[in-house]
């Protein structure tokens, strides 16, 4: 199913959670809403689910306007951060809930429901645990049961709100890959909210980066990493070094003219130069497009050498990765030429 969100705005008192947000998903896509807390990502997800309603704008499912339709009638699967399993029901009853509450004429026979529950328990790899209560399960198992419960109603759309937020690191990692496989097997359109960029980069087809109630960029994991649209996206996703520049007629002067780089941002005045740690190479002394820096620390990490360097005119040290055999000892003066960089207008 394809989802279209058109100019959605939502205010809570004086706080603007969403400010004219528009978004489109493709059928079968796995989309991540990524952003810091307060960016509006959860509000957007809840608005799509019908658990929250926008002050302005529209939500369309396959071209059909669902803006005012309550959650119960949207046929969506929603997975909560804290599982929200019904604690007084067994795992099997939890999974069956969406089917047993249907009106009599739509409700499947008892045997059909039981078969469906067994099939879903198999899918979440907990076939023996149907008679347990949620309190008797681990966090990871609970979240898998919550997913099975959401899938039981055969939703058109799967929405997950920080699904792994309450789990420890190793379980998160395992469940991530597993969730992606479930998504691929069921062919559902899925949207999940996360503040963990690693999670989004690892399993999403496309990532929606949000901040302060607006979408900063929508792109594939490669796009948001290699071609960040804004300074925020660049510094939020992955490591980046941020240097002040002055832009004038197509060139950018780094830190009061200590280096001059070609400027592609087509702007004038103050800007920000973003360089990823591994996007530098050693240059000859005196090269005009290289940064002259002094090595502060230097240590080999895996196949590269991580150095932190001080640069005249900058208070904060910069971090770069060189080939592991590069000669860079503490106190050495190096000339580093950025091989790939982006320049943004100063925010």
């Amino acid at each position: 199913m394809s989802i279209v969100v058109e100019n959605i705005s939502r205010r809570f008192g004086g706080f603007t959670a969403l400010d004219r947000v528009s978004l489109e998903t493709k059928p079968g896509e796995f989309l991540a809403l990524l952003g810091p807390s307060g960016s509006g990502k959860t509000t957007l997800l809840r608005t799509i689910a019908g658990l929250d309603f926008a002050d302005e704008g529209h939500v369309l499912f396959d071209g059909q306007d669902m803006t005012g339709t309550p959650a119960a009638e949207r046929r969506i699967g929603f997975v909560f951060q804290n599982y929200a399993l019904f604690r007084h029901m067994t795992v099997a009853d939890n999974i069956a809930f969406g089917l047993t509450v249907r009106k009599r004429r739509d409700r499947p026979a008892k045997a059909v429901i039981a078969a469906k529950v067994a099939e879903l328990l198999e899918l979440i790899q907990l076939p023996q645990l149907g008679d347990r209560y949620p309190a008797q399960l681990s966090g990871g198992q609970r979240q898998r049961v919550a997913l099975a419960r959401a899938l039981a109603i055969e939703p058109q759309l799967l929405l997950l709100d920080e699904p792994f937020g309450a789990l420890d690191a190793q379980v998160r990692k395992d469940l991530r890959g597993w969730l992606r496989r479930i998504h691929d097997e069921t062919g559902l359109t899925s949207i999940f909210v996360t503040h963990d960029q690693e999670e989004a980069l690892e399993i999403a087809d496309r990532i929606v980066v949000m901040r302060g109630g607006v979408i900063e960029q929508v792109g594939t994991p490669r796009e948001v990493q290699a071609e960040p649209a804004t300074a925020f996206v660049s510094s939020f996703i992955g490591e980046t070094n941020c240097l002040p520049v002055t832009r004038a007629s197509g060139s950018a002067m780094v830190v009061q003219g200590l280096a001059v780089l070609p400027d592609t941002s087509r702007g004038e005045g103050a800007g920000e130069l973003h360089i990823r740690p591994h996007d530098v190479e050693l240059a000859a002394p005196g090269a005009p497009d290289a940064l002259t820096v002094t090595v502060v620390t230097s240590r080999p990490i895996g196949r590269s050498r991580r150095i932190t360097v001080a640069m005249a005119g900058l208070a904060e040290p910069l971090t770069f990765d060189l080939p592991v055999d590069a000669s860079a000892a503490t106190g050495d003066v190096l000339n580093l030429r950025p091989t790939h960089y982006r320049i943004f207008a100063k925010i």
Binding site: A49, G50, L51, P70, A71, A72, E73, R74, R75, I76, G77, F78, F80, N82, Y83, A84, L85, F86, R87, H88, F97, G98, V101, R102, Y133, A135, G139, A146, R149, A150, A152, I153
Partner: protein, 281 residues
Amino acid sequence: MSASNPTTHESRWARRTLIAVGFLFLALFLFLPLIMVFAGGLAKGWQVFVEALVDPDALVAIRLTLLVAAISVPINAVFGVAASWAIAKFDFRGKSLLISLIDLPFSVSPVVSGLIFVLLFGAQGWLGPWLTAHGVRIIFAVPGIVLATVFVTFPFVARELIPLMAEQGRDDEEAARSLGASGWQTFWHVTLPNIRWGLLYGVLLCNARAMGEFGAVSVVSGHIRGLTNTMPLHVEILYNEYDFVGAFAVASLLASLALVTLGAKTVLEWRFGIHRAGAAH
């Protein structure tokens, strides 16, 4: 909760003294009076005790007390659940005012609570003339007693449920809604089971107070023997007439009702405690 606290190191002697003082205090101020009530009732033998209870006026008082509890407890259970639901699960203007209002019956003296109804519905009250003209009696009649009891016992269920429902949040209800459940199904299959022990506990406390309320009921009842006397009022009348055995006999029945409630409460607390520990994430 662990019973032993490793940071305190009182000697065994100090601990025993504290426990002994606790028990002595309880014995002196709770058990002893309770025993005296039963002893006073049985002072002239079983026969007199039973006679005091089957006295027509006593029977009317017992019946009225049970009737008032049977009406006011369900009313407060329903309104308590509704009020706690509204307070715990929604944000709206005037929410803190509503919370203060729920506590009002606890902070106001029961006598004042009774007077409120006399001022409203009494012969000289605001609605008095209209009620008299239409032949409706509220003050010095059963409706007034029910109203006063409902007022005084309102906070018990709501106070018990608000923190419980606030702690549980809206996730379970939202999950049920997203799975296609109607509002009623969500309440019946998800909300009610989540609050059942707290609700039952609140209902028991509410019931104990409804049967035992004296002040507010005393103001609105008019103490008409065989008509508007509840058990606590009947005890007072008998006592004032120096019928000590009768007074103590009815009082011991009232105390027994309270003890049954207390027993039920203890059993529930035990169940409730286990349930809550099991539900902890």
